[in-house]
Symmetry: D2
Subunit: 340 residues, 4 copies
Amino acid sequence: MKNVAILGASGYTGAELIRLLAGHPSIRIGALSANSKAGRPIEKVFPHLDHLDLPELVKIEEIDLSALDLVFCALPHRTSQSVIKDFPRDLKVVDLSADFRLRDPAEYERWYGTQHLAPEVQPEAVYGLTEVYRDEISKARLVAGTGCNAMCGLFVLRPLVAAGVADPDDLILDLKCGPTGAGRSATERLLYAELAEGASAYGYGGTHRHLGEFDQELSLAAGRDVRIRFTPHLVPMNRGILATAYVKGDAREVRNALEAAYEGERFVHVMPEGLPSTMSVRGSNLCKIGVAEDRVPGRALVVGALDNLAKGSSGQAIQNANLMLGLPEEAGLEVVPVFP
Amino acid sequence: MKNVAILGASGYTGAELIRLLAGHPSIRIGALSANSKAGRPIEKVFPHLDHLDLPELVKIEEIDLSALDLVFCALPHRTSQSVIKDFPRDLKVVDLSADFRLRDPAEYERWYGTQHLAPEVQPEAVYGLTEVYRDEISKARLVAGTGCNAMCGLFVLRPLVAAGVADPDDLILDLKCGPTGAGRSATERLLYAELAEGASAYGYGGTHRHLGEFDQELSLAAGRDVRIRFTPHLVPMNRGILATAYVKGDAREVRNALEAAYEGERFVHVMPEGLPSTMSVRGSNLCKIGVAEDRVPGRALVVGALDNLAKGSSGQAIQNANLMLGLPEEAGLEVVPVFP
Amino acid sequence: MKNVAILGASGYTGAELIRLLAGHPSIRIGALSANSKAGRPIEKVFPHLDHLDLPELVKIEEIDLSALDLVFCALPHRTSQSVIKDFPRDLKVVDLSADFRLRDPAEYERWYGTQHLAPEVQPEAVYGLTEVYRDEISKARLVAGTGCNAMCGLFVLRPLVAAGVADPDDLILDLKCGPTGAGRSATERLLYAELAEGASAYGYGGTHRHLGEFDQELSLAAGRDVRIRFTPHLVPMNRGILATAYVKGDAREVRNALEAAYEGERFVHVMPEGLPSTMSVRGSNLCKIGVAEDRVPGRALVVGALDNLAKGSSGQAIQNANLMLGLPEEAGLEVVPVFP
Amino acid sequence: MKNVAILGASGYTGAELIRLLAGHPSIRIGALSANSKAGRPIEKVFPHLDHLDLPELVKIEEIDLSALDLVFCALPHRTSQSVIKDFPRDLKVVDLSADFRLRDPAEYERWYGTQHLAPEVQPEAVYGLTEVYRDEISKARLVAGTGCNAMCGLFVLRPLVAAGVADPDDLILDLKCGPTGAGRSATERLLYAELAEGASAYGYGGTHRHLGEFDQELSLAAGRDVRIRFTPHLVPMNRGILATAYVKGDAREVRNALEAAYEGERFVHVMPEGLPSTMSVRGSNLCKIGVAEDRVPGRALVVGALDNLAKGSSGQAIQNANLMLGLPEEAGLEVVPVFP
């Protein structure tokens, strides 16, 4: 059994790590931290986990790092950098924050408006898009989990750009997501009353921070600069991202590129027909992708769906941890979607 | 007081007509029909209306048409044609179905897959986009209410095409709507369990019937053929359409065209900044439109929001009826959005 | 036209006051306060009100009280006492907080755990249960709006206790309500993610503060001490309280007592059959009550439904203000429920 | 590996059986039936299961019963009787319908208004309340799954009645549940638009069919007739039952009786403090129970929560099947609740 810690266990991605690891055959949770809630029993923080036999919540500094095989950092952005920077250099880490996603610290500063606190650690970080960087991740010490919106969008767009089957200057991504992507922070805009039964765009016009990831990864894949147009929308669903991409390219070629990219993949599926619903992936580590011809010749529609807390963050993190620890990649992750 | 009948009063648009007309200063509801539910008291059909003093539900043939100033037809598609065709030729009618929206009966057959049952009446019908066809509507005997999705999309796109500020060959409309647009039919896909907490595309790839209206109206406005790409998505909200349009055009010119088109309009507003939420219009006859520059130069984002049952159908119908009856256009329609 | 101010206009009850007053024929909003958001335009605080011609948000001290006919205080609990205490003694006030609901300041301290800051003003306050205290309210300077849960429960239980048709020692009230009753405060337990798709009890076992109101009003009605058992539950709906009462009494006598109590009332209706849904009252100033025999002889079930923001607070406040200002009691309040 | 069939695989309990069995170490799904949808691939019926390697949907008569170790019947009420009646008499069956829950066929006729079609099979049926009838179930050929509401209510009330710590003549059960308990039938009252954001009682006043089960089981436990008062309410949540019981009894004795009844149970937990939320059990096979003193001395509040599709039907069915097949009772059922 591998022994891991989850730092930041009082947030939604922390809870999702616990949920998925509870069914993992080869990983045990050795420590849980939650600085502001240290000392409280888990059932006060997450009543749905009260029946599990879990270590109590402590402060990070109380954890014996030497006993660990790997650490999951589900800490707030920026806190991750300052914590990971002081870790022993041989401690394996999967970070779920945005702190190490951008390879160039200058890009981090540009998108996050603050200086990178651990630029010396950044070169070690591998971008956690498992299906693309599987080999690097297997050998990595530090993996930077992707943004959940970025992951869904990249699953849909990256193979098209890499294969040259879609015009990289005409990529539009219209995304629908729920509030859990923003974490468990008590802010007015995330209140039930502000979200139930409504839909609205946010972070539009080139301002959403995940664009840093899109730019980085799509440009790398294309071998040239790629700048997508991206509009996320908040809709009333706790789990789920639906990414609708409008591309200039032949639908059949687009489908072929996607099928080639994900052939044999356990968690990313290209549907033989139809488009996916977020309900088809809820609670699971799956990403489902559908392709359709649009009515204008030479234009295609590609839609991806995943659960932002599972495949979009905590599931992805465990998948990467499995690779880093030499475990079967799918261990603990073969949970079936929950519907209804 | 003008005396009207509502045919098809047991559906959601019927109920919305009753709700709004209950506060109308110059229109009284003289008759209500609901063929399959004739004879039942309204509180069995719509408990929220049980405190109003309403006529009982009867069959259409029991209504004395000669006593009416105007009829609202909220009947199923196709039924409308067969009913309206037999009306006295001087009876004013606002039809909420799709039956008279397409000027060319051949287009009707193409999109609805069935022959037009009243082609001889079709030439009389005016397309009910009030803010565009106000004068014709004022003089019309028969007004064909627009599709709710089409209305929201046309409010956003039509002025751009008419003013030539957006490339008519590169118009994408990504729309989010709720299930009430599909009516009160007991079908599996509209069940609570099939929709709550999820998002999915439907009617994509050029198949949605409202494309007939888009093609017709945008081509007329442009003076040439226009074919938009349109993807509607179902999200869990009862009332509301959010239409996100991606256009090739300068954001400032786009804004100017929209502001010019809706200057002085009581119900269609261009926001000075920001983008609208469906929550800002719920329950009201308002359509709010926002414009933003996209990050790619020369591309703009335009978002429109309206309540599909109010401005999108029953509110629009009353607005048109007001014009046809010589009443103030805004009578009965100045209800404030309900939030939360 | 009467001129009023709304203090605390950035909360949900403040927004609901604005929504309802926008359609009021004889009241105009002369001033709006929102201390922490003073200086911000209303559309930044409530986008759904952006099309109304409203005064800008100011601090309370900037308002010229002498120009006002009445003030609505939608301030947080405790702030109300300190603000109202310094008002001119002839300024009419409808307070929506809990600050003046309990006639005995000792009871206030018991339930709210803090000293009453304006005990000298308390004797002036009339408890705002309009249908019961109509005459006193008409002559009052200060009316204390009821708790929304208390109002719904009292509408159901008070007539039974007053008429002696239910055993006052065996009253159970199981209540279902949504999160807007707790206001617009950014707290974790009110987040969308914490509430959507779930149900749970809160404030149970005699701890909910509205019990102070229940004890006071039911004991007064009975002429003896009455202590109900009360369990509120949080369910995912923004607007609505459903109060299910289990009483020992004959269903027919219970019905008679309710019908007698609310005969001729415009806003409180006893249904001839069936039980109400919150959907039948959403957005309106109505309370609907249904009665059913329970299967155990001599036991009845009484269910009341109202919209907590409308009849439960802001609608009630306007109804009381109408009485205090000599206006028709129903002015501005005849809005039809919004369904779906 | 044990080989099972699921009859009625196109309903929600069928899908839930598939979801849970997909992770079962010792049971494989050998056949799936769905008469009206026979021949359709599963992804047309349940897209969330499209990635599983499942047998195709066939008609019941196409299934080779001799190859099966056990059959799960998730068929509509009444169909179950006619199907099971013709099964070989040594075929093990877990029935999820109401058809064999009532030991006395006369009671079945009374509550379901129709004659029992297989009275000769009824004596074999064991009522599927696992934690109570574990031994009988282990030896049974036919187990009748409990009603989901009945199960939750019985978990809460049965130990109190059996231990004599609550007055059996004063039991009130106020229950909140979601629409999936009513199955996947396309009926108006289960539409999204009819349920979202609202709450209402149904099946009240002694009419709900699960009362047949309550009467039967509580009377057996008490050794005398027991008739509870029961009011179920529909609230907008797909998975979950919250059962609030009001009992006359000492809270400490009540707690003791519950703790004694469920000591060592893997799936039914008595919380040391607090009351449960449905969110704490969603997607899991858990039932959580909380106890609180009520404010009136000698009265207690007991609240139970479970997921109606999991522990309330399909999870329970698998738990019973495990017993019948000699497998570990918890096999395949240790899934952690999904939150948010």
